[in-house]
C-alpha cells in the first residue's frame, strides 16, 4: 500500500522539499561514482582506467606494476577519501544540529584540538621513545596518538559539561573553546621544541593529506567511521526536533539526553578517526552541510545522507587537484579545500544573505 501511495503522482504541497532532497541524493550518488572513477584514473604514473578495463575485458591479467598502483595506492586512497569526506561532512551536520548553530563544527567538542595535540606530541616526542616501541608502532604512532588525543579531550569536555545527567550544550561550547586554547598552548610548546624535519611533518599533518593511505589504516579507521555514520540516521529525527529547542524536542517524545550522548560520541569517533589518518582537513564540515541546507532544506533525514555523499565527492575532487597541480609533488589537501572552498563559500554567502540570518 505504501508503494502504491508513493508512486502515485500526487502534487506535493509548497514547502515540501522531500522530493527535491531525494532527487539530490540520487544525483549526488552519481556524482560520487563519477568522481571516484576519475580519481582512480588520475595520478603521477600513467596508469589509465580505460586501458585497465580493456585489458580485463580481453581476459588478460594486469601486470604487476599496474596492479600495485591500482590496488595498493589509488584504491586505498580513494576509499580513505570517501570515508574521511563523509565522516567530516556528517559530523559537521550533526554538531550544527546539536548546537543549533550553522557555524558549529566537530572542533567544538575538542576533537580537533585534542587530536592535533596528540599528533604533535607523537611527532616531536616520538623520537625519544625506546627504539623497540618506535619499531612496534612505526607509522601508526601519529594516527593512534591523534585518535587518543581527540577522544580523551571529548570525553573530558563531556564530563565537564554534564551534571546530574544533563549535558549543557552551552557549557560544552565554552568549555570547548577553553580546552582548544589549552591544547593549542601545549602544542605551541612542543612546536617550539621541534627540529626542522619535525616542523615539516607537523605542517604537512596540520594541513591534512590522503597521501599516507594504506589498507591497514583503512581497516583501523574505517570501522569506527562506518559505525559512527551508521548512527546518523537514528539521530535525524532528534536533530529535527532539537531545532525547536530542547524542551519542545522532549515534548515530541525524543529522548534528548540519550541522543546527545550518541551524537557527541559518534562525532568524536568519526572525526577522531578521520583526523588520525588524514590530518586536519578543514572546511568540509561547515561548507557541505551549509550548501545542502540551501539546496534541500535543513531536514536531517535527508541532510545527513546527502552530506555523506557530497563530503566524499568533494574530498576526492580536492585530492585529485592536490595530486596534479604540482605533480609529481603533492599539495596538502587542506590548502586545496581552503583555496577553492573559501572563495566559493563567500560567493554562496553573499548570494544568500537573507536565508543566513535565520
Amino acid at each position: 500500500m505504501t508503494l502504491a501511495l508513493s508512486s502515485e503522482p500526487f502534487a506535493r504541497p509548497q514547502g515540501d522539499r522531500r522530493g527535491r532532497a531525494r532527487m539530490a541524493g540520487w544525483v549526488l550518488a552519481l556524482v560520487l561514482v563519477l568522481t571516484s572513477s576519475v580519481s582512480l584514473n588520475v595520478g603521477a604514473s600513467g596508469v589509465n582506467l580505460l586501458e585497465i578495463i580493456g585489458t580485463l575485458a580481453r581476459g588478460d591479467a594486469l601486470d604487476a606494476r599496474t596492479r600495485l598502483i591500482l590496488f595498493d595506492i589509488r584504491l586505498p586512497r580513494l576509499a580513505m577519501g570517501i570515508l574521511v569526506g563523509a565522516a567530516l561532512a556528517v559530523s559537521g551536520a550533526v554538531m550544527q544540529g546539536l548546537f543549533r548553530n550553522p557555524l558549529a563544527d566537530p572542533g567544538l567538542v575538542g576533537v580537533g584540538a585534542g587530536a592535533g595535540l596528540g599528533a604533535i606530541t607523537a611527532i616531536v616526542l616520538g623520537a625519544s621513545l625506546p627504539v623497540t616501541m618506535q619499531a612496534g608502532l612505526g607509522i601508526y604512532l601519529v594516527p593512534v596518538a591523534a585518535f587518543l588525543g581527540g577522544w580523551l579531550t571529548t570525553i573530558l569536555l563531556y564530563q565537564i559539561s554534564t551534571s546530574r545527567g544533563r549535558t549543557s550544550v552551552a557549557v560544552m561550547l565554552l568549555g570547548g573553546i577553553a580546552m582548544g586554547a589549552l591544547a593549542g598552548a601545549l602544542s605551541g610548546i612542543l612546536i617550539y621544541m621541534a627540529d626542522d624535519a619535525q616542523l615539516r611533518d607537523l605542517t604537512f599533518w596540520g594541513l591534512g593529506s590522503l597521501a599516507g593511505a594504506t589498507w591497514t589504516k583503512i581497516w583501523i579507521a574505517g570501522p569506527l567511521i562506518v559505525l559512527a555514520l551508521a548512527a546518523a540516521p537514528f539521530l535525524a529525527r532528534a536533530l529535527n526536533g532539537l531545532a525547536l529547542g530542547e524542551a519542545p524536542a522532549a515534548h515530541l517524545g525524543i529522548p534528548v539526553q540519550r541522543m546527545k550522548n550518541i551524537a557527541i560520541l559518534s562525532v568524536a569517533a568519526a572525526t577522531g578517526a578521520a583526523v588520525a589518518v588524514s590530518g586536519g582537513i578543514g572546511f568540509i564540515g561547515i561548507v557541505v552541510p551549509h550548501l545542502l541546507r540551501l539546496l534541500i532544506g535543513p531536514d536531517h533525514r535527508y541532510l545527513l545522507p546527502n552530506a555523506a555523499l557530497l563530503g566524499a565527492s568533494l574530498l576526492i575532487a580536492a585530492d585529485m587537484v592536490a595530486r596534479v597541480v604540482i605533480a609529481p609533488a603533492e599539495l596538502p589537501i587542506g590548502i586545496v579545500t581552503a583555496t577553492l572552498g573559501g572563495p566559493f563559500f563567500l560567493w554562496i554567502l553573499l548570494r544568500n544573505r537573507t536565508l543566513l540570518d535565520m
Binding site: 543549533r100 550553522p102 541546507r293 532544506g297 535543513p298
Partner: protein, 263 residues
C-alpha cells in the same frame, strides 16, 4: 483527568510554586491565570515534566513521571510561550515535526489541515523565520495540534498544554484559537492554558486557577474566581468585575480599575 497534587517547585533555591493542587477535567478548558511572575509558566512546566518538583502529578490516574517520553508525546502536546527555531525550515516542515510524534500514523495531508484550522492556509511554503510573531505562534499551534489530532486517543483523552496561546494574536485570531481549543475540549480532549487575558478566560474557560506569588489564591468556575476582591488582591490594583447581559459572563475593563495609588 489531569491531577496536580500538592506540587511545589524550587528554582535557583527560591520557592516559585508552593503547594499547588489542581484537577483539570477532559472536556473542559482549564485556565491558569495570574500576574507576571506568579508562576503560571512554572506550573505548566512542572506538568510537562520540564522541571523537577515535589508532590505528584497524575495523567488519567497514572503518575506522569512514570510514563516514557514517547508515551507522553502520544497523549499530550505542549505549546511553549516563545519559540525560536534554528535553521530555515518551512512552515510545512515545522508542522510535520508534530506528525512524527503522534500516536498513530497520520495522512500526509494532516499538516495542511492543521494549518487551515489555525487560519494559515497558503503559508505552508513560507519560511518560518519570515513570519510575524503571531503567525509563528499559530504555526506552532498547528504543530501541536497534529501531535494529538484526535481528542480521544487509544489511552483516553489527549491533552493540549498551552502557554499563552493567544498573547501575541489580534482579536480575530484570539477568538479563532480559543474556539479551536473549545472545540477540542467539546470533542472530549483536555486543554490547560496559561492565559493573560481575563476576558477571554471568562468567555472560554470552565475552570480557573488564580495564582499570585506562587500560591493558588482561588480555584473554580469563572464566576467564583473572577471577583473584585480576588482579582484586586492578585493583581495589586483595584479592579471591578462587570457582567455581560445574557449569557452572563464576567468581564474586566482597565477603564474601570481604580489605581491603588489614587484610592
Amino acid at each position: 483527568m489531569l491531577t496536580v497534587d500538592h506540587v511545589s517547585v524550587w528554582l535557583a533555591r527560591k520557592r516559585v510554586l508552593e503547594d499547588i493542587s489542581l484537577r483539570a477535567e477532559a472536556g473542559q478548558i482549564t485556565a491558569i491565570v495570574g500576574p507576571n511572575g506568579s508562576g503560571k509558566t512554572t506550573l505548566l512546566r512542572a506538568i510537562t515534566q520540564e522541571l523537577p518538583y515535589a508532590g505528584k502529578i497524575y495523567l488519567e490516574g497514572t503518575e506522569i513521571g512514570a510514563l516514557r517520553g514517547w508515551e507522553l508525546a502520544a497523549r499530550r502536546a505542549v505549546l511553549p510561550q516563545a519559540s525560536r527555531i534554528a535553521f530555515p525550515f518551512t512552515v510545512l516542515e515545522i508542522v510535520r515535526l508534530g506528525l512524527s510524534a503522534g500516536a498513530t500514523a497520520a495522512p500526509d495531508t494532516r499538516a495542511l489541515e492543521a494549518l487551515a484550522r489555525v487560519g494559515l492556509s497558503g503559508f505552508e511554503g513560507r519560511y518560518y523565520q519570515e513570519l510575524s510573531g503571531g503567525e509563528q505562534q499559530r504555526v506552532q499551534l498547528a504543530r501541536v495540534l497534529t501531535q494529538v489530532w484526535a481528542p480521544i486517543g487509544p489511552h483516553g483523552p489527549c491533552w493540549l498544554l498551552l502557554d499563552e496561546p493567544v498573547s501575541s494574536l489580534d482579536i480575530g485570531h484570539q477568538l479563532e484559537v480559543m474556539e479551536l481549543a473549545a472545540d477540542y475540549a467539546a470533542r472530549g480532549g483536555g486543554v490547560i492554558a496559561v492565559m493573560h487575558d481575563l476576558n477571554l478566560t471568562a468567555m472560554f474557560a470552565q475552570q480557573i486557577i488564580l495564582l499570585a506569588s506562587g500560591h493558588a489564591i482561588a480555584q473554580g468556575p469563572p464566576a467564583h474566581v473572577l471577583t473584585d476582591d480576588l482579582l484586586s488582591r492578585a493583581y495589586g490594583c483595584d479592579l471591578q468585575v462587570g457582567t455581560s447581559p445574557a449569557p452572563p459572563i464576567p468581564y474586566v475593563l482597565p477603564q474601570m480599575a481604580r489605581r491603588t495609588i489614587q484610592s
